[in-house]
Symmetry: C2
Subunit: 309 residues, 2 copies
Amino acid sequence: MSKQSEVASQLNQELSKVLERSPADWILVYLSLAMMKMGGHRYGTFLDAATTAAKLAIYSTFLEQGKNIRKTGFLYHVEPKRVKAIVKEIEDAVAEGQSLKVFSSKEPFYVMALPFLWNEKFPCKENESPVRLTGLTPGERKSIEEGLPPGSPRARILDQVEFSELIEMVHNLSQDELPEEHRMPFSDALMMHMRFRLVNSGTVIQIDSPLVDIPLFALASDSYSPKGERERAFAMIDDVARYFNLLQAWAQFKEGTMRGVEVFDIDLERRQEALDELDVTLRNWADKYHTDGGFPMVLQFAAGTREYE
Amino acid sequence: MSKQSEVASQLNQELSKVLERSPADWILVYLSLAMMKMGGHRYGTFLDAATTAAKLAIYSTFLEQGKNIRKTGFLYHVEPKRVKAIVKEIEDAVAEGQSLKVFSSKEPFYVMALPFLWNEKFPCKENESPVRLTGLTPGERKSIEEGLPPGSPRARILDQVEFSELIEMVHNLSQDELPEEHRMPFSDALMMHMRFRLVNSGTVIQIDSPLVDIPLFALASDSYSPKGERERAFAMIDDVARYFNLLQAWAQFKEGTMRGVEVFDIDLERRQEALDELDVTLRNWADKYHTDGGFPMVLQFAAGTREYE
DNA sequence: CTCAGCGGGAGGTCCCCTCAC
DNA sequence: GTGAGGGGACCTCCCGCTGAG
């Protein structure tokens, strides 16, 4: 964790040279870090989601311009042919339901669905040992079991073949929900990707026991819920999306919307005091004006070190 | 403006079906709308910027994983070959300065640079008429001049050929700053794109006078500064980037950082009162703790209608 | 001026394979 | 395991062209 933070700050310094503080670029970078590094989405998934967003911007302009393909194409430097294809793609998606390539969730499907499928396909009965390898003494089984971190759910420990089967199952399951056009066939590369991701996210633990010469895999978390930095990363995305939504209303001069930025310098010894007071003040403000059954409102705020100018 | 808002809200409703409220997807959509529709960036520019952001996430992980190409590739389902190319690309960019494809500014270069180049290449002297077409009576010249909106800068009015020349010049100027690898040759498609964008952004006005059978072009704003909805759209991007930056510090449990969301319902008659009070309260809070020469801090907030759950 | 179709090239994302350390 | 190389499939972004309303 601390190593990650170090690298991150080092990276930020290097990037400031390259990006030269264009705010939109920073938004994209923050988002990619959150979705790929924290969420574990594929590189291609991020690109697809971004492409979809850009297509929606094109479609939006297409409607505004009175469904004029050529004009829309000129405005964004896109071929009329391509504009037409994009419009058709989106209209089909609206008509038939989900068929655009989007993130659709904070983490990839297989990361979230795997624990359930694991217990379903490889159940571990009360009186059985989670370790089912042949040629092991009860003592050796026990030592492997005890090698697991405390709090691990009671689930069977799989060998590489079983684990690969499970991954293929969960992959096929995730593909079932997708439309025919953009399903991905299962491949070794995909398998390795999912395996690394599951281990990296802490959902699965890989055991390289000296007792057996093959790697074993154990389920590490039963119901899926990220902790700590990962959990906050997801909350961050939620907040930013809502905040963006609020500011968009503000940018359109909609009534009942307000935004503000307060820039100031503070004595570090009073910083925590100030933040605590801010928290209380805003809660009181919201409480003061709250009316049951009233118009739905939200206030978002964030305070911290000023890095931008 | 109102037509745009109508279409936008109609679009939003359609999109909610398709996107199924994944917050990261919404962030991308908001960003694409702001950069492409408001900023006037090309479709390809948005895709390139998003790709660059994803590459940076890969590079970041590459460093964290001890410069292990293969592992990085598995984590994001990217070929080792491609990882290597991405790493090289970024390291070259850091070493040699700017060479990644990014937005780099809120609006494309040519939109901002054109007014200056216009006055430089086609100066309009004090005692000359801005209209330089042959075969027009002084009265006809005057009627064309008076057709311009008030507040237009004094600049020569160009015919289609001159305008195209000017566009090509500003395009070449913008390409000079780019590295050799990804320069775009000038093309008719690009010319039409820039022409539509300049007119659409209000920087240039197209005059289809009945007196002449060819379209004329007039400069509409001298120093470039967007107004109204466009101006707010850019402020919005700034705000979101800073807010994202603050939340990232919060997600990493950095000290002196705070974020909050207050959800409440309000009596519509008291809404404006509440927002005004909020504004004053937060300004007072910042003033209260401000210390000259202290630690740099920023507070951001936004309040409005709650649409998300 | 708009819409329609055709051609081509370049580069990227994906997949698989082998070989040496 | 890792690095480094080969291959091919497919899609998308760019460019150019011509012809029908």
